[in-house]
């Protein structure tokens, strides 16, 4: 009875992803190997969770430019808690996540409460959180070594790291929340017509604050993963990350105007970005070509995705005939 729309919506994106994988596999003998995929698996958790938070923010027609800085702030806090204060990892993680949550809360509270464009508020936070990261670390990278290794190293039984498992869990839960819960509906509704939501007796302000707080929290979680991956707390981490995150979300078809989006597609967007980067690096193409190709593929992916509906229908028809 219910129409399952997702598969055909994701189809264009999956096709782009597969085409890229195919292309790189043909171009580079090393691409289609377990090692490459393990490498990818190490890289994507951070961008994944941050892009999930960004998906929610874009859904309510906001934007969060501060994610890269907030991530750096959170890993800075964790680094200092472990290296300078000698606290155990769980305490550090808690401190990091709380920092992220607070930064997000401020973003949300200021923008929702005073109706200031989130672009401006989070641009301010981009500077503030970066300053904070420099402040707490005194602009010095902290090396943490084995203290944080557990986050990023594969669990023997599963062959994948806790970071990746958590990141995928975040994707699944976030998609579930978006499509099945009251909160998800409210996000879509606020992104579509905030005034209508208000006039239906639902105060959009707390929900918006919640969304930004979650985005901050997920940036913090991204910081945790980054820490596990690099075993280093670097106050300069994540410069420009906001653009990659937004790119992943938008490639995934979420509208910048709000009201429409999918977390799963965001994840495919993250994979597309990661595959392009990895593939080009493995081919060792020159920096100018790398830039030009990356740019062209981003545009092409979205362009191709425009045609996902016709392509989806066509494929759907084919499949059902068989």
């Amino acid at each position: 009875m219910h129409k399952i729309k997702l598969p055909w919506n994701s189809l264009g994106l999956v096709a782009v992803l597969l085409a890229l994988v195919l292309f790189f596999s043909v171009s580079s003998e090393y691409f289609f190997t377990g090692v490459t995929f393990r490498t990818l698996a190490n890289q994507i958790p951070t961008l994944t969770v941050i892009a999930v938070g960004m998906t929610y923010v874009l859904l309510i027609a906001g934007i969060d430019l501060s994610v890269g800085s907030v991530m750096a702030l959170c890993s800075a806090v964790m680094g200092v808690v472990i290296a300078d204060m000698g606290m155990p990892l769980p305490v550090a993680i808690a401190a990091g996540l709380v920092s992220g949550l607070l930064a997000g809360l401020v973003n949300g509270a200021v923008s929702a409460r005073w109706a200031i464009p989130s672009f401006v508020v989070t641009l301010g936070m981009l500077e503030i959180a970066r300053g904070g990261a420099y402040l707490v670390t005194n602009s010095e990278t902290r090396y943490l070594g084995s203290a944080v290794e557990v986050i990023g190293s594969p669990i023997a039984a599963l062959g994948v790291s806790p970071a990746l498992i958590l990141a995928i869990l975040v994707v699944i839960i976030a998609q579930f929340v978006l499509s099945k819960t009251v909160f998800g509906r409210y996000m879509i509704a606020i992104g579509t017509n905030e005034e209508a939501v208000r006039l239906t007796g639902i105060n959009p302000v707390p929900w918006k604050i919640l969304v930004f707080s979650l985005c901050g929290l997920l940036a913090g979680l991204g910081g945790v993963f980054q820490l596990g991956y690099l075993q280093t707390a670097d106050p300069n981490a994540g410069i420009g990350l906001e653009l990659s995150a937004i790119a992943a979300v938008v490639i995934g078809g979420t509208s910048l105007a709000g009201g429409r989006g999918s977390v799963v597609n965001t994840f495919i967007g993250v994979l597309i970005i990661a595959v392009i980067q990895t593939g080009l690096a493995q081919m060792g193409v020159s920096e100018p070509s790398k830039r030009i190709i990356t740019g062209a593929v981003i545009i092409a992916a979205v362009l191709f995705d425009q045609f996902r509906e016709p392509v989806g229908k066509w494929l759907g028809a084919r499949l059902s005939r068989e």
Binding site: I188, A189, R198, L199, G201, I202
Partner: protein
Amino acid sequence: MYKSFASPVLTNLDLDILPGEIHALMGSNGAGKSTLCNLITGIHPPNAGNMEFDGQPHAPATLKAAETIGIQMVMQELNLFPTLSVAENLSFSSLGGRAGLINHSSVVERARHMLAQLEMDDMDPETPVSALGVGHQQLIEIARAISQDVKLLILDEPTASLTDPQIETLFKRLNAMREKGVSVIYISHRMDEIARIADRVSVLRDGELVATLAIADAAPDTIVNLMAGELPEQDEHSSHKTSAETSAEVLLRVEGLSVAGSIDNVSFDIRAGEVLGIGGLIGSGRTELLRAIFGADKASGGRLKFASDGLSSSRLMQSPREAIAAGIGLVVEDRKDQGLLLGDTISSNICLGQLQGLSNRAGVIAADKEAAMATDAAQELQIKYDDLQQPVTQLSGGNQQKVLIARWLLNDLPILLFDEPTRGVDARAKASIQALLRELAAKGKAVVVVSSETDELIKVSDRILVMSNGRHAGEFNAADVTEEQLLEASFKHYSKAQHA
């Protein structure tokens, strides 16, 4: 002619419009009237069939193409630019003077002229459109269309949010145009208008042309029968009405309500089991009044006293949320901007306010409960749809209105405010909404209805309050008031205001 979206909308339609005639198009919501007009004006291409205009084959690729050969349309939904001024909206496609500069004075001058055609001389052409109510916005759209050099004018529910005096003016213009040989396609759900203005009537049902009649042969009953079969049984509602003197319980007492710039010191009672109609001219502050009661806008003064605490303590609503908690609901006037989630499904739109109740403690929505709730609500209001998961934008205007009403009925609040609830709703649905309003009152609810249709007000209300220039201009017992009395009251405070 044939047109299909998800499912066929228009099938095998043959229709001709004679020069110099006003041809009314009638049909229930979703019958395909707007779609037909979209085909004629090139907004959508037909899937099959052909048209002829002025002896030439007619297949406009774009609206622009249709306009260049003299076809103008006023669409059902407003298409104005809120941040631009009235004058700029009126001349939008011909703003240019020399070198792309806007010839400000001539644009304003032209605007004055265009406004004068609809006797709106007192409107400042430089006001931004966003500062106008829906009714005025609709007039702007009409003024824009009729001022062009036009051979065929299409008006898609032009009077939906107009009050009687404006309708009079519009009809005067239309009659003058007819004399000059202009053809008009006139879509309306108001039977009395059709009888007064149209030469012939065509009735659409489910995308098919049922009949074309000369107006003389088109008694309202005939048309309604052609449209959709029988009207719902008209109960003799006036007998159910509580008379103004009855001591029905006052649920809400509005005292001295004021809103800076639009409402001045308005007091009245809202009673259980009664329909209170609110009349007045466009811009008289009716919408503002409802919004202020509902907490959608800040009131600058006044009190609300609720029966729930013995009419003793008094407060103003700070937000719609608070108003709902206090038992007040508002079905807004501008469904597109303030009511519906246009990108979302019918079902989401209906259930938006009920999600908390449809979900478990973790906030997960029970999909089956939601579907059942939406289906029930849609059936109760006879919404015409293919699938509840369809985007609400695919519904006809009237059905969109019903979706909005359905949302509020689910809340089951004791006090319901309706701002133009039957705007753009077909005769059958209008009758059923009117019956619904009565029914709600009969169930003991307090119903407040703002309407620009005087006959509707008289028909549906127990009491009628008339607003004039933001002020209370009298209350009447609906059983014995005349249209003239109401009209007189609506002008009451304007002359004084001008002299002051």
